[in-house]
């Protein structure tokens, strides 16, 4: 009896430090922190080489952002031809993906019966899972000949931004659809019922009640889609053409930022050459552009999300 009392009183209720637990926790923290290294790596490595690029005697920051010729072999580094073609493919892609993607999302979430929905969603997932190089092949061997047949092969060149942009739109369609549909289905049923009770038609419920309520999610989807389109590489590398070209015609070849990086690094690239450094500068630009877009999209969701019980 006495024995037990002494045992009880000596029992220490404080947490005992355990070596194994501490080591494991340290390892887990390292894993969690690892992704910070990736970001630091991107910013540091890309920043370092980009800085070297701008320090090269041939390169002048002012000329880079004001002139319209990108010809590394004669020392001309105007970024506009790469920018305009990136903008053009992105615009064409979004012109396809936004209306189609939102319509599909509205159809799936508001009109489709559960059975139709459960067959259509996997199809869209398949579309989203196809590697982009396959889309590139599709653009070059299907979309381009199609465009050439419609508009005439003297108008449409073999490599052109229209074909790349259109196919990129198909690529981004499932992304926009699934994000928009998530936003639409988060709108509570009661809002729809209330509108139906007031005598609204299905279309009016969809466009005047559900879509406005889900607007923040839809805006986020659109911005993520744009960011994806800017960073998309293989479709433009295969179908949009090689060689920077300052043009606003969608039917001629023009190289986007990503396409340029792929072409330059596909050849034999020697370290510390101006080409080598230029891809880091372009990569850094891509990184920050897409980062800003993604942050904006997250901010929109946080700031404007309507929370329902």
């Amino acid at each position: 009896m006495a024995d037990i009392t002494t045992k009880n009183s000596s029992f220490n209720l404080r947490r005992k430090p355990r070596l194994g637990e501490t080591i494991v926790q340290g390892l887990l923290f390292f894993s969690g922190f690892f992704s910070i290294f990736t970001t630091i790596g991107i910013v540091y490595e890309l920043g370092k080489e980009a800085l070297l690029f701008f320090q090269m005697p041939e390169v002048n920051i002012l000329a880079t952002i004001t002139t319209t010729e990108w010809k590394p072999h004669i020392g001309k580094f105007g970024i506009w031809p790469l920018l305009t073609s990136t903008l053009m493919t992105t615009t064409i892609a979004m012109a396809i993906a936004i209306p189609l993607g939102m319509s599909v999302a509205v159809f799936l979430s508001e009109y489709a019966t559960p059975k139709v929905r459960s067959t259509l969603k996997p199809i869209l997932e398949v579309l989203a899972g196809i590697p982009t190089i396959v889309y590139g092949y599709f653009a070059l061997t299907f979309m381009t000949p199609l465009l050439r047949q419609i508009f005439g092969s003297d108008v449409v060149q073999i490599y052109n931004t229209a074909s790349a942009g259109l196919v990129m739109g198909i690529l981004i369609l499932p992304l926009i659809t699934s994000m928009t549909e998530d936003a639409l289905s988060a709108v509570p049923r009661s809002l729809r019922e209330a509108a139906y009770g007031m005598g609204a038609t299905k279309l009016e419920v969809a466009t005047q009640i559900v879509v406005p309520a889900a607007l923040s999610g839809i805006a986020a989807a659109v911005i993520v889609g744009i960011s994806r389109a800017i960073g998309e590489t293989m479709i433009v590398a295969v179908a949009a053409g090689a060689g920077p070209n300052f043009t606003f015609s969608p039917f001629v070849g023009a190289e986007t930022i990503t396409g340029h990086i792929v072409r330059i690094s596909g050849g034999d690239l020697s370290y510390d050459s101006i080409d080598y450094n230029s891809i880091f500068a372009l990569g850094l630009f891509l990184f920050f552009t897409t980062l800003v877009l993604n942050i904006i999209s997250q901010a929109i969701v946080r700031r404007f999300r309507e929370v329902y019980e």
């Binding site: 970001t39 398949v126 899972g129 590697p131 198909i170 038609t201 990086i261 891509l286």
Partner: protein, 413 residues
């Protein structure tokens, strides 16, 4: 009186509203159909190029290779080796001998070499499946008139031979074995890097991390990394794995390779680059799986006196594992399809030997598709189409296994 007027107005535009409703309904439906049509067109387009008639000529007439009245096809292995020795330059012959001694090669392999190196069939024209089916007679006529010496065959570019043959520059004998092995080697290192770190990070964020600024930064950072274009990872891989860590990724520090030819453009660099790329995806998926394990299981474990790690290891992880594996498989299928980062990291344009160590040069299936797609000749488009089918079959089986895993092992609480 007034009320009546309102009702009348209401009914007046009811028809118009309903009409508008059904018009838009049709539009929404049509958009969905357009999406599905795009998928169908994509598939048909690939299949269309992967099969069809091909006309080819031998560069060297097989009749000139008859020895002792036996045609090339019927010659014994020794005769074929002798043929190679006499027709090829000494250097080329020795190179083949060095790759694999002729004594160890089977007759089939030697015959393949004779076809590849001496007879060298040359594609003169290819037709896609649709043309081959609808205009077979015209094709036969064209070949008979324009290429009298050519043979015409209906081929499937996708065959078991295509999957098992190494890459060559001759379309008729090219295969994707080198590329498939390259993809598998690359993915091995991707998984080795991304799986343990990804699951560890997810456990940390879900089970250990308190809500402070550092952990919020880590979480935000992971979400942002998931949206970084893949090509940026390629540039990062080029700077870090290929260049800065070259002694390591080229295998030089291990003394495994010839230091004069080794460089960092290896399977290892490629795998690690893709590992960084899929890491955020694996973390986010694993976090969701861990979050789905109910609180009560953890509390029960704590209640019987288990420590935090014992709880995580014995209860949370086993319950979350199907979800984690599903997410990992999806991330891996993303990595298998990636092309752009590997081009930047420096995939080899033409290698005919299989990768056999982490420090081998590499090419992967999507890289192979990219290179064949970029060639102007039609026959390479057909090769690209066949490799796309191989890639899609590979991805489809991966995704199917992810779905089976999810349905079979997922528990609901």
């Amino acid at each position: 009186m007034k009320e009546k007027a309102v009702v009348a107005e209401f009914s007046d535009n009811l028809d118009a509203r309903n009409r508008r409703g059904s018009t838009w309904h049709v539009f929404f439906q049509a958009s969905t159909i357009v999406g599905i049509l795009a998928l169908i067109a994509l598939m048909l387009n690939v299949i269309n190029s992967a099969f069809g008639y091909v006309a080819y000529e031998a560069r060297v007439d097989p009749d000139t290779l008859i020895v002792d009245n036996t045609a090339v096809e019927d010659q014994s292995k020794e005769q074929l080796v002798a043929l190679l020795q006499s027709e090829l330059s000494r250097g080329a012959y020795n190179k083949l001998e060095n790759e694999k001694p002729f004594a160890e090669r089977t007759r089939e392999e030697v015959f393949q070499l004779v076809v590849e190196r001496i007879v060298r069939p040359k594609v003169v024209e290819v037709w896609d499946l649709w043309t081959s089916l609808t205009q077979a007679d015209e094709i036969r006529e064209t070949v008979a008139n324009d290429f009298p010496k050519a043979e015409l065959d209906f081929v499937s570019w996708l065959t078991t031979d295509f999957v098992t043959r190494p890459q060559t520059s001759e379309p008729l004998t090219a295969g994707v074995r080198t590329a498939i092995l390259g993809s598998l080697w690359t993915i091995l290192f991707t998984v080795l890097l991304a799986f343990p770190i990804g699951v560890g990070a997810a456990i940390y964020l879900e089970e250990y991390a308190s809500d402070n600024w550092l952990n919020r930064i880590i979480q935000t950072n992971i979400n942002n990394l998931a949206g970084v274009p893949s090509i940026v990872y390629g540039i990062l891989g080029l700077a870090i794995f290929v260049r800065a860590l070259e002694p390591l990724t080229s295998g030089e520090v291990f003394g495994l390779v010839d230091p004069t030819t080794a460089n960092g453009r290896t399977v290892l660099s490629a795998g690690l680059t893709l590992g960084l790329l899929v890491l955020p995806i694996i973390i986010i998926n694993a976090q969701e799986a861990i979050r789905a394990v109910p609180r009560s299981i953890r509390n029960a474990s704590f209640g019987v006196g288990a420590t935090k790690w014992q709880t995580v290891w014995s209860h949370v992880l086993p319950n979350a594992m199907p979800g984690i594996l599903t997410g990992t498989i999806l991330a891996v299928s993303r990595a298998i399809g990636e092309t752009a980062p590997l081009v930047v990291v420096g995939a080899s344009t033409a290698i005919s030997f299989d990768p056999d160590s982490p420090f081998s040069k590499f090419t992967t299936l999507p890289i192979q598709i990219y290179q064949w797609t970029s060639r102007p000749q039609e026959e390479f488009k057909s090769l690209a189409a066949a490799s796309i089918l191989v890639l899609l079959i590979l991805l489809l089986s991966l995704n199917a296994s992810a779905i089976i895993l999810r349905n079979r092992f997922s528990r609901r609480y």
